[in-house]
Symmetry: C2
Subunit: 525 residues, 2 copies
């Protein structure tokens, strides 16, 4: 498939007329031709107009048709073949197995949402039948379903060029909900974005969806991205990226005449809690697992273990020594973009110079744009006094906090900002102590895990990839897993509508064969 550097606006492919986005080889920083014309204001407005026009039709497509559409996108992505993998490797510097794995995850994610659409439980269909004889007043016939919010803007993520980009989790869940999607491609992988965008565009066409169901824009500069969020036809935003970027979009969305939700997945340091018995028995093993998780994909995961808490003593000393040894032996790895590399390097340098922080180890040095791992340590007292030590260093850097006792460790957890994940390393003898931490962690994080690390986010029904601010803009939601569809829905009630005017999901006889509740109880089939 040729990469032409074009915007995909509805059914068309056109050259953007407002500046350009340049694709680069992540390893060398060298540009790759062609460049990608940036969308101008008129092109942005056209994508929004087409999305608004498509909305009423697209959202009322049958579950079968929408599911088939999602599956067709998945198939089209696979059909691009190895060109997608090699282009993505060049643009991101990520190795082949990772890209191939991420492609499979992307495809499975689309298929999962096809299943969610067919199942229909997400509609939360409810029927409270009329009670004409009720005293003192009769009850009307009341029925509820969830409907799609409206056109959605998705900002592609730098660190998941497939699974959280053009056809990633935000797009898949929004399309599943019945929302047209406009993707603003991330400048870190524009060629990959165009290839995937064309796969979606082809699926829109072959499945007979309205053309405005999908558009892909390359945007040069921040202003126009914000204009997209400010457009009155846009009804929600999906974003994965920096805290600064996410908060900027939240502010734009809140200042609109009609404020809209922003689902921004931003920053998290994902605390790892080492409990005494596990640490004493398995410290070496946990240290190895920790460094493997830390350095995976050059540490460029939202769920990277950026903070480790343990109770001071010989077992923690041993853990730190083992982690330091493993980190110092870890190879450097190319980062996604020169900008991400430079931000990492300056964050690590700041930490190295911090008067209250010791450098435990640095990984192997590498090329100009490669990530050199870093492990630091500090005391809980200093951690509590210096809120800047909670700042995420996006990349393979982590801070180990020595706590004098369990109470101090709990104090540190209480002082943490919202997080995506927290990991507890425990043995059975640690259960009582772990139980004291669970209520605190539930308030702070979206996912609590035991004897593992947060990297590796399963796409399934029970996943939560979300958490209190600032890990996300809205801790009431998840961006991974089937529950992500809920972000793009709102409830509508139908009172006393004749059968002929009711949506299929709510008609007598359950023509869609979906789970429903009647008077609050599961409907008997």
């Amino acid at each position: 498939m040729a990469i032409l550097g074009e915007l995909l606006i509805g059914g068309t492919a056109v050259r953007g007329t407002n500046g350009a986005v340049v694709a680069r080889d992540a390893q060398t920083g060298e540009p790759i031709s062609p460049d990608f014309g940036g969308a101008g204001e008129e092109q942005i407005a056209l994508a929004c107009a087409l999305a608004a026009e498509a909305f009423d039709t697209y959202r009322e497509t049958t579950p079968a048709a929408r599911a088939a559409f999602l599956e067709q996108i998945a198939q089209n992505i696979l059909d691009i073949g190895d060109e997608l993998v090699t282009r993505c490797m060049t643009e991101t510097g990520l190795p082949r197995p990772r890209i191939e794995g991420e492609r499979m995850r992307t495809v499975n994610q689309l298929r999962l949402f096809a299943g969610v659409v067919r199942d229909g439980a997400y509609l939360d269909a409810r029927i409270d039948p009329a009670q004409p004889a009720r005293q003192p007043l009769p009850r009307a016939d009341l029925r509820l379903r969830q409907i799609a919010l409206g056109p959605i803007v998705v900002f592609g993520a730098s660190n998941f060029p497939l699974a959280f980009s053009v056809a990633g989790g935000d797009t898949a869940s929004a399309l599943a909900a019945g929302c047209p999607v406009i993707v603003k491609a991330h400048s870190a992988h524009p060629g990959t974005s165009e290839l995937v965008g064309r796969a979606i565009q082809a699926a829109v066409r072959s499945c007979g969806m309205p053309e405005g169901t999908f558009s892909l824009l390359f945007v040069s500069g921040y202003d126009l991205g914000q204009k997209l969020v400010a457009d009155p036809r846009i009804k929600a935003v999906g974003f994965t990226g920096s805290r600064r970027g996410g908060v900027a979009l939240m502010n734009v969305a809140a200042a609109r005449p009609e404020p809209i939700p922003v689902y921004a997945e931003m920053s998290s340091i994902n605390p790892v809690l080492l409990f005494p018995n596990a640490l004493a028995k398995r410290g070496q093993e946990i240290a190895k697992g920790f460094v493997a998780s830390l350095t995976l994909g050059a540490g460029q995961f939202c769920t990277n273990p950026g903070l480790v808490l343990g109770i001071d003593g010989p077992a923690l000393d041993d853990f730190i020594a083992a982690a330091g040894k493993a980190a110092s032996e870890s190879a450097a790895a190319t980062m996604l973009t020169p900008g991400i590399h430079d931000a990492y390097a300056s964050g690590v340098a700041k930490m190295e110079q911090h008067p209250k922080v010791d450098t435990v180890a640095r990984g192997q040095a590498g090329g100009r744009y490669q990530c050199q791992a870093a492990v630091f340590s500090t005391s809980s007292q200093d951690f509590l006094r210096n809120h800047d030590l909670q700042e995420e260093m996006f990349g393979a850097a982590s801070l180990i906090v020595r706590c004098p006792d369990e109470a101090a460790m709990r104090e540190v957890v209480e002082a943490l900002d919202g997080q995506l994940t927290a990991a507890l390393h425990i043995d059975e003898e640690d259960h009582a102590a772990a139980r004291r931490f669970l209520p605190v962690l539930e308030r702070k994080v979206g996912r609590i895990l035991v004897n593992g690390f947060g990297t590796g986010v399963e796409v399934c029904h029970a996943m939560v990839h979300g958490g209190p601010f600032p890990s996300t803009a809205d801790g009431r939601s998840t961006s991974v897993g089937s529950l992500a569809i809920a972000r793009f829905l709102r409830p509508v009630c139908y009172q006393d509508l004749p059968q002929a005017l009711l949506p299929a999901a709510l008609q007598d006889g359950n023509v869609l064969d979906i789970p429903r509740r009647v008077d609050g109880k599961p409907e008997v089939k």
Copy 2:
């Protein structure tokens, strides 16, 4: 039960030290003693601290215990007896049958949420069991439940002194979710608020809930109410009131270091759409129903029919004449507060002087603080050109818009702001036309009803009392009905937790006997 004018902070009753809120007889405007001491900053901080302290314990009370607590509150409210009814009548000017009905609704609402808590479906419990043999990577054991958000601030509404005030829908749904609640009493009915607050406080005590589960504050002035929303321990806000008040709270909440959701139910004019066949056949009857709905409770309902759309012609002329006649015969009724009366009077006066608006009829004049109904008319062209004609006049005032044809009527609907409800008056011959409006209405409103009026909001499972901005701050939610509990929840995922550390809702064997999904399918018992 004595009314002492005290703040209820956790288990204590203390005199507020910062100004005072004065109870008034709605009919005369005369003060009633005692007055209610306003909460000072320290008292607000204490209520927040107690709520935060109560949170971890309260949210993990068993479903049985929490349901019994809600039912005890209901019983305690009934046990206050006629004193509650008479005090409420004096403070609000509303007639006995309305207050008695609202009391029953409040009690039933608490009982409905007790049922919701026992049922457990709101927890959205999901289990994706481990797949240790999966290739290329094993799958962890993943489980999800919804947990309570945290301490909630509820602003009592002026127009529902019982059903949307101290123990109203926001409080009931937040308590059901497991959130401690701090109510800021509305100054329109402080005595009613204290009586109900003491009923809740007694239930907290007798049911053994942590004392910070509930506090009731009287607050003098806007600043301290905003301080309450800004307190870092507060995690969401429920509000029913004016657009200006709601937007002010949204701004405070968005500007916090940790932004929080505000569920503000604000302004709605609830369009009524008259279709040709229904209008021709039943215009007189619909006009009578319209005026009855318009003048109910002095028009002080969020769902009051403030806008009527019809296609110009003799049938619409007849409707307008009939509505005018009925309105002109309607008796004046005391409004909730002098302030509400004066705002209504000035809104109506502005409309009377509007160059593009005709006054169809005024109702009977009444006393100083009584609402005199008003019906106006204008053309669709003028309506579309004057956005101020969409402004809510809180009270028994409505604007009839003459549309030259169906297309113009649809254009008006497309130009509407978000609304709580829309009502269609149709006969079977109107179905085809109605079908053309439904997609537009679904985008604009939370509840669509046929051959009725939006007043009379059923508390049940399928109700949506919400809608796109500015009818509410967040169209993804409802403030009436069992789905209201979803506003105060967020999902948490548990990965590879030993059974002993899992919450009861997610343990093997389904000890709570609640609906759960395993691998996305309903669990087989």
